[in-house]
Structure formats: C-alpha cells, structure tokens
Symmetry: D2
Subunit: 207 residues, 4 copies
C-alpha cells in the first residue's frame, strides 16, 4: 500500500456503530467518508436499521412496514454493495462489510418484516462474496447478536423497562468499539484466509 | 372434521407444482381454489417463481430484477400468508405451506436477487410459524432442493444444454406429485408433532 | 413390490418411539424385527438414547459419561447403519432412518456429552445419505425437537417438577404415533423426491 | 494485565497451524507451552487432525478408524477443554480456541468418521461457550474451510495430483499465519463482544 491512503466509505452510518467504525478506520490512517440520510429531517438513524427492527404481531405488520424494512435493511444493502463492487472491480481490490443481526438467521415471533429483510441482506452478502471473492473483493457479513451499547438502546430500555443506562450491567451490551474492531480485523485479513461470517455477542448473552 | 369439506387455496399455482398439489388435495376430498395471475396476459407462471430465479452477475442485476424477485417470491408470500392467517385465526386452525428452494438457504454466485427473496420468504415462514403455531395454525417451509420435472424445466434444459426431456435420467428431477405428497403429509400431521421445514431432492442429487 | 413382504429392522427400539414405529410398520404389512439390549438386565431403554441425554455441568461431565453418550447415540448408529447399508447395497434399495434431537443441532449449556454424540450421529447420517443416495438407499435424519409423550418423560417430569402426567397440557408432548407417521412417510417417498432431514415438534413448542 | 505474562497452552500443536499460533502468541509477548504426542515415535501430527481426516467409502470405514477419528478430533478436545476450563475458572478468565474444518458442518460423502468427530467437537465448543461465557471464559470455534498451506498438504497434493507445491496458485491455500492472526484476534476481543464462530477460507475457494 506504501504511501497510498485507504478510503472507508460508510453508507448509512449512524451515531453508534457507524461512528465507531469511522473512528476506528480514521485512527488507522484511513480517509473516512460518511453517507447518511438527512439527520435534520428524519431522526438520526443508521440507514440499515432505521427503526425497521420493531416487533409486530403478524396482523399488525402492514405492507408499508414490510416494504420499509426491506428497503432499508436489504434493498439499500444491495444497491450500495453493487455500486461499491463496480468501483472496486476496477481497482482490483476492496472489502465490503454488511452488518447483520440475530434476525439475520432467526425468524422470531413478531419479526416477519425485519427478519425477512435481514435474511435477504445475508443472501446478498453470500452471493456477492462468492462472485467477488475470486476477484479480490472481500465481502463479510457480521452477525451482531447483541444489544449495542448506544444512546438509542438506552432510551428504548428506559422506555420499556424503566432501567436506567447506569444500572445496566457492564459488558451486557456490545460496545460499538468492539464491533469496529471486528470490522477492522476482517478488513485486514490476508487474501488467503478470509472470514465471510462472524458472530459477535456479550459474554453473558443467552444464545 | 365429520362431514365438513376441507378447502385448499393455492395462490400463485402454476402448471407444475401448483397443479399437482391441486390434484392431490382434490383426490383427498378437498375443495380446491386456485388463484393465479392472468395466464393469457403473462406467461403461465407460478406466482412465487415467476422467472425471478434467473442467474445474473451482480453488475447485471438491475433494481427492477431485484425488486421483482422480492415482490414475487417474498412480498407476495407475506401478503398471502397474512391474509390466510387472518382467516384461519377466526376458524381456529389451518395449514400454510410455503415453497422454498436451494436459494432459500444458500446465496450462490449470480443469485443475489432470487436468494435474497427466498431467504426473506423463509424468515416470514419462521416468524409466522412461531407466532401462529400455539394458535393451531401450522406453517411449513418446504425446501425443494431439486429441478422440478416440468415443462418449464424441460424447455430451459433443452435451451441451455440441448438435452431433450426424453434423455433426462429417470428420477433426476423431482416429480410434482412427490412434492404434492409432501404437502399432503405436512398438512395432515397431528398437532403434537409438526414439521416446520423439510427438504426434498432426488436420490441422485449432489448436495 | 408385488407379493414381497417389506422388512423393518428396529435397532435399539424402546417402549416409546420404537414400539410406535414397530406398530406403524406392522399395520402397514411389514415384517418387523426388533433388536434391543436385554430389558431384564438394564432398564428398558432405547439404545440410541439410553440415559445419555442428561444435563451435566462441564466439570461433572466424566470421561465415562462422554464416552457412553458417544457409544450409544453415535457409534452404535454408525455400526448399525453400516451393516444395514451392506445388506441394502446387495438388494439395491432400502431406507435408513436416524432419530435426532434438539441436541443434534444445538450444543446447549450442560449438554457437552449428549450434543457431541448427537451432532456426530447427524454427520454420519449426512455422509451416508450422500454416498448411498445414488445407490437407491434413502438415509433420513429426523430431528425430534420435542418432549416425547412417554412413560419415561412422565416420570422424569414428575420427579423434576411434581407435575403429574394427567396435568400435562394436551399436545405439548409429541406422541410416538406422530413420530412413527413421519418415519412411515419418509420411507415411502418416491426416489425422485427424498427428504433428508425433517424436524418435528408440538405446535406449542418454543423454538 | 500490567506486568503479568500471558500463557498460551497449545495442545496437539503440529508443525503447521500449531507452530504458527505459537509464533504469533510468542511475538505478542506470551509464554507459549506446547503439548504434543511424541514426534519421534509417531509422525509429526496435530493431535486434533492426526490423519483422521481421510476419506473412506462407508463399507471401508472400520470401527478402528471411526473410533480413532473421534478420539483424536473430538474426545481429546473435550478432555483438554475441560481441564483448561477447570484451571481458568479458578483464575476467572481465559480463552479456549477449537479448530474446526469444513467437516464440522457438512457430512460429505466418504467422511462419516471425520465429520462425525468434527461435528462432535463443534457441539463441545458450543456447550462450553454457553456454560463458560458468563464466567468470563471465551470459547471459540474456528471453521477452517480451506486447505492449509503446509508441508503435509503439499505432499498429499503431490501424491494425489502430481502438482508440485511451487505450481499451486498463490493464495489458494490458507497460510498458517492467517489462521494464527484469527486466533490472536479472537483471544483479544473485549468481553462485551465475543465471536463464537468464524470461518476462514481463501478468496478463490468455492463454498
């Protein structure tokens, strides 16, 4: 790589995982570009999660909710992945990292919409990994089987259970830095030994 | 059930699997209703497959193709499943059967669109099974890991390889009747022992 | 098959699943042979379960327990399967059915020994299915993700929770007849559409 | 950790993966202890592989082969893991890393013995991870879905295909260093974000 500067493009980066990944790659000397929806207009969200991960009984799962979940958590991943691939194929190398969740491998009760989208994104990651791997583009799917230690989760917990962030047992939520470290690790693997899927959860998590 | 007549509603039933399932349930004394897109306007297709299962390199996978695959193989399944559930919840019982494929569990090279949709449908089936099972609605996902012995496959094979239907080794394609038998079996399982996923492939298949 | 009589050999058949499978195949006109360990000497057990499915903290999991679980739930399956295959290969057809459990796909806390054996048996079933399928021997792995409605379970429940068999909610345990029906179904599938794995659980089961 | 020195105990370390892992941890300042069978008496082997990964048709898979595969690839893992856990539970922390293979998740034709053992080891890893995680012991299962760039593989390839090590395309075998880096990464994860399974394969691998 010599004197070349690496570039990290984060699409849909939010204040939690996205910000931590940005920091991690910036610390590592990368030029970091962040693309996100207008934080002023909508709430501050990660494009790939975007409130689409709510639980709803089947009969309350509207067409709109089902479509939105797919659009944000699956379709956007395909679009961005395809564009990234177009660019990387010309350069002859690159890493594309998708963020999965428990819902990527388990269709739980109440999660028809979100799971469907996350399962779909995982398929995109697999198909891309198999096609692009031999062309030196590394596609990774990270399974975050965890609550992420973020402002959003704190607020949701507070609202749902009354538990304050300070009372949450240490290490029971995954820190965004830990996720960013996994991204960093995956991106730096040698071409002869690539990880295509890795899970991530707190030591105390039931799974 | 006494003198009550069972009703089988087939949504998106085509000339292959759909027709065989219709025959199987009719033989078993069910009243069979078939819903499909206008066969005169479009080609004769199974709603849930609908040409969406084509292989395309990533860069040739258009937005339209990706959306269509999802709409036909995943979204339609959600819509129909939800409506069926609405009806069955009132009656207190029912069986909902989804047809999966190899692409439901494997994102192969070239199948970003179709796999993404089929993964998504599998998530819908799982979420519905977990929510509706305790309410006596049996949701099953059948994994057809096979070429189906149908006119459509014969034509595609002929076009791709020049091999005529008569030359295809016996038992190397799964007969629609075998699939229909699996549907019939799953539908008749006692409530204390339900299958939620079963695979189906020819004895000679590599898997 | 004409006037030929089918033969069902049940190895390690106990009073629950084994007896029900024997009845089902006898009703279907099969000659049924049962091989089991001496019921007078040891407790009445199914060879493939044999009390090996107990939960133990890791540090209490002795070498003997680990070995026994493997010997009964995995090694015996290999030995019997291999002998059955030897015989069936000469005749040119046959079905070999293995009984799996939740522990076949999930290494739960406390189940290092039993899960290890059951995972191992599943591998045997897969390897056999892939080798023997093209030779017309159908190998099936049934995943019984359920408590089985049997005297043994009733007693264990009584001992553990004080709940009497009569108080157990209907349909919350899988009846041996339902399992036997799945065996019967799998055995009668046409060669062009074989199931290699199917799960089975009560409608009310959490999974 | 301050001035404390970490200890890495490698059981069954061979000249390939084991040696590389030893080097990696030594470079990182760890005291490395290696336990292996007498290299003078037997061939130089990794305890957990030990020639047990040979492919055999079912009828040629002897009791001895089946037992040996289990003893070396599964039972030894349980024994060593249990002892390591005993020690780590007293200290209150530790990492236990198991090496898996393609055969850990796929029972391929001809691999009844090896797959059975490797499936079994994966179950041990899962059960240990779930029990020991909350006690701050991190158990990881690495899925090496690759040929490992080692003298043993070179010789086997030469014997099987006549292809010389020099002719093998670069990056088509996973370097032991890449594997060691994954071990190192997993060992250093923060407790709030642990990986329990990760795969590793060359970019050009079909999977």
């Amino acid at each position: 790589m010599a004197d070349k500067v690496g570039v990290a493009l984060l699409v849909g980066a939010g204040d939690a995982i996205g910000a931590a990944v940005a920091r991690r790659f910036a610390e590592g000397g990368y030029k970091v570009c962040i693309a996100r929806r207008d934080a002023a207009k909508s709430q501050k969200v990660c494009l790939f999660n975007a409130g689409s991960n709510v639980s709803k009984p089947l009969l309350e799962t509207t067409e709109k909710l089902f479509f939105k979940a797919w659009e944000l958590a699956c379709y956007a991943g395909f679009l961005v992945g395809r564009e990234a691939a177009r660019y990387m194929l010309k350069r002859g190398h690159g890493t594309i990292l998708f963020t999965g969740a428990t819902a990527s491998i388990r269709g739980s009760k109440g999660f028809a919409a979100f799971s469907s989208a996350k399962f779909g994104l995982r398929a995109v990651a697999q198909a891309m990994a198999r096609e692009l791997g031999p062309k030196n583009i590394h596609v990774v799917h990270l399974l975050i089987d965890a609550g992420v230690d973020s402002e959003a989760i704190h607020q949701r917990m507070k609202a749902a259970t009354g538990i304050d962030a300070k009372e949450i047992p240490a290490d029971s939520l995954t820190k965004t830095r830990s996720i960013a470290d996994a991204y960093w690790f995956a991106h730096h693997q040698a071409r002869d030994g690539w990880t295509h899927e890795l899970d991530l959860r707190p030591s105390v998590e039931k799974w």
